[in-house]
Symmetry: C2
Subunit: 173 residues, 2 copies
């Protein structure tokens, strides 16, 4: 079967977030092993003027969710950005994945050339065609925040390897 | 025009690497501004058991180059992994981009279901279909190393924002 715009993006969002959830599970187990509260991870930053771990997870979720909503025209649920625990961040990922699972397998198809206008920063917007937006904005945005979350955990001693990011729970096999 | 397997992946590789080159340029300018040798960046790590900055750049290049070669069947150039300066890493990216520019715009098409076998770690291999390999391995692998390189620079005080990663030199506009 030839690739479609939906098949190029929707499974990618789901896999990236499922693998992020897997990395959070390993972080929780690691905190228990090292005998500290796993929720400490939630506020960690790689630099004082970078967003904390919680925001990396939230934005990874929202980049996938809002990217999907914008191209498909479907309404996406909104979440409160009030997570303070690793368990709540896991819930955020799970809710995002549950919504992505409701999106039809052809939701983006035929929208390759459609103008997508989206916020950039707090005041500006940017407009890209549907295909370019998914390929060059939404997907790299998801990977940026998933990888930054991974880097934060790894920097702080969690026993992750790239296979956890690429293959998630299948990395265990 | 509908999306194709090549259009879903080849421009993504090129944009990610061009934006990485842009981040390296900003790192060099930042080092000059802060009056230290920009080549210090080459050896930095986010954790003692993570690969250094040079490897992040090399693997980002190779994931794009080797992913392209494996799916297209084209022979890719090999590079020596001996860069010790930021300028040499820029050259690595430039050589990779120059080779990617020679790849035909339909090089992956029709290879969606073709088995791609590739090394995983030092001894194992893994086999995936062409489409799944590009979507779930080669592309996320490139973003992983580009983002890790970005995170390393950002962690060490380089004035980067996400727009530099997403839009490269166009972030300046």
């Amino acid at each position: 079967m030839p690739i479609t715009l939906t098949s190029a993006a929707l499974p990618v969002f789901k896999t990236a977030l499922a693998n992020l959830a897997h990395c959070l599970s390993k972080a929780e187990a690691n905190a228990h092993m090292r005998q500290f509260n796993p929720d400490v991870f939630v506020g960690l930053r790689l630099a004082p003027d970078m967003l904390p771990f919680a925001s990396q997870v939230r934005i990874a979720c929202d980049a996938a969710k809002n990217g999907t909503a914008r191209v498909s025209g479907l309404a996406a649920p909104k979440f409160a950005d009030d997570e303070t625990t690793l368990a709540q961040l896991q819930e955020r990922i799970a809710k995002t994945l549950a919504w992505l699972d409701t999106v039809p397998a052809d939701a983006f198809d035929g929208r390759e050339e459609q103008d997508i206008t989206f916020p950039v920063g707090k005041e500006a917007t940017r407009t890209m065609k549907g295909e370019a937006y998914l390929k060059h904005w939404a997907i790299p945005n998801v990977y940026f925040h998933v990888t930054t979350a991974y880097a934060l955990l790894r920097h702080n001693g969690v026993d992750l390897g790239k296979a956890d990011y690429l293959a998630g729970a299948q990395a265990l096999a």
